[in-house]
């Protein structure tokens, strides 16, 4: 978590900059295998924040806030965890039939204010902002950016994962199961914010290995009134879904602030 406490000393501040703090890089979890057969199996999962998908080339994901939910809703253990320079990695032993939900949750707090006529901004923990007296400054604007970086792995037949939803932030409520995506077949995902359908979310979809293409060929979708998008993936491979929005307010430690929520998902599409 320490690495997120780093203060960013920026001389120029723009609203756009502050409102899109998470899109600067791509956060992802990538399992070694998405679909498995047998009684007891293992997957190795990589986590990184990178420019290219899925090449770790910026900074490793922190493993301090990884949540692994087994098909029965119980917590599964993160094993052999290690944070490298560019990539974090861990193993999971799968011993229950069904779908495991793997998520990295985290939050960063942003503040911007005027000091002696100079615009200032910083990114830190809320405790640090309070300690420094920044939350009490006259002109301060505060925002909490909460994220869920997710992927799914299935041993045997896929199981319902929406039963394990937390009702906090952006969550995927699958209509088509995330481990049941096939080339040229229409699929539907629904998104919720705090347990309610998230309409008008902009969802970006990018196929992995963009490093070997001149264009990312990203696809854009907008959720409908039910929070749903329908999509058809053109090629077999691994895909990254990403969405975020600044909506509503949140209160923490007696401080009311703007709230940004972000969500990313890694899935694979198989050829028939």
């Amino acid at each position: 978590m320490k690495k997120y406490l780093k203060t960013i000393l920026a001389t120029a501040t723009t609203v756009a900059c502050l409102s899109t703090p998470i899109q600067a890089h791509r956060l992802w979890l990538l399992p070694s295998t998405f679909t498995l057969s047998g009684d007891t199996q293992w997957v190795t999962v990589d986590g990184a924040i990178s420019n290219d998908l899925f090449f770790p080339n910026h900074v490793a994901m922190s493993l301090s806030d990884i949540h692994i939910t087994a098909p029965d809703g119980s917590k599964a253990a993160l094993q052999n965890g290690a944070e490298g320079k560019f990539r974090a990695t861990f193993d999971i032993e799968l011993d229950k039939q069904g779908t495991y939900r793997l998520a990295e949750l985290g939050a960063t707090y942003f503040a911007r204010w005027q000091e002696n006529g100079e615009p200032k901004r910083t990114r830190a923990s809320l405790d640090w902002l309070i300690e420094q007296g920044i939350t009490k400054k006259d002109s301060v604007k505060l925002m909490k950016a909460a994220r869920r970086v997710e992927t799914f792995v299935t041993l045997g037949a896929p199981s319902d994962v929406s039963a394990n939803a937390t009702g906090q932030g952006i969550e995927l409520i699958p209509v088509t199961h995330p481990n049941d995506i096939y080339v040229d077949e229409a699929a539907t995902f629904k998104f919720e914010i705090d347990g309610k359908p998230a309409s008008d979310l902009q969802v970006t979809v990018i196929k992995g290995h963009d490093r070997y293409r001149d264009n990312s060929n990203e696809m854009q979708f907008t959720t409908d009134a039910n929070g749903a998008i329908s999509f058809t993936l053109p090629e077999a491979g691994r895909y990254w879904f990403s969405t975020s929005t600044t909506r509503g307010k949140t209160e923490e430690k007696g401080i009311t602030m703007a709230r940004r929520v972000a969500y990313t998902l890694t899935i694979e599409a198989l050829a028939n």
């Binding site: 047998g38 199996q41 037949a157 896929p158």
Partner: protein, 173 residues
């Protein structure tokens, strides 16, 4: 080579005619590669909309080896895994068996046995899918109509992991 295989296939079928109304011969080609493993093979009957009627054969490594469970690679027979395998509790008597060597193999369903006993009239697909460790994967889909007006003999040839696959149905019903 071709003649020998045909003769071998014919003799198998002649033998089979006496006891079976539905016969499937599956040729697993000999593949000359540095590292060869016998393929995992699934044979199943489905409707054109992919609804599975019955599994007819699943050949996979029955024991656990140095590399883990034999069932670990069932998911690589990926169309079968999607449509049926992942919902099954293997092994299944009379359906699952060990992997097979290159050559011609036979799956016979005697008259009056499931799934053909009460099979409703309609269009069906015989699916044969093979996936080989450190190798490729191939799926053949042979369409046929049930019941047949006359005897059915349908052959489809694979190009990589499967050779000739022949479905033969006697029209004695």
């Amino acid at each position: 080579m071709r003649t020998i295989l045909t003769l071998a296939g014919a003799s198998l079928m002649m033998e089979a005619t006496a006891i079976a109304d539905t016969n499937i011969t599956i040729e697993l080609p000999r593949i000359h590669v540095a590292e060869y493993h016998r393929p995992y093979v699934a044979v199943w009957l489905a409707q054109p909309n992919h609804k599975v009627i019955a599994n007819l054969a699943v050949w996979y490594q029955q024991h656990d080896g140095e590399e883990g469970e034999g069932k670990s690679w069932l998911k690589d027979v990926r169309q079968w895994w999607r449509r049926s395998g992942r919902k099954l509790d293997l092994p299944i008597d009379g359906i699952s068996g060990p992997t097979q060597a290159p050559g011609i193999h036979e799956v016979s369903i005697p008259q009056g046995n499931d799934p053909f006993k009460n099979l409703p009239a309609g269009d069906y697909i015989l699916n044969v899918e093979a996936a080989r460790e450190v190798g490729g994967r191939e799926l053949l889909r042979i369409p046929f109509t049930w019941p047949a007006d006359g005897p059915i003999t349908q052959t489809m040839s694979g190009s990589t992991e499967l050779g000739d696959v022949t479905l033969t149905v006697d029209a004695t019903n």
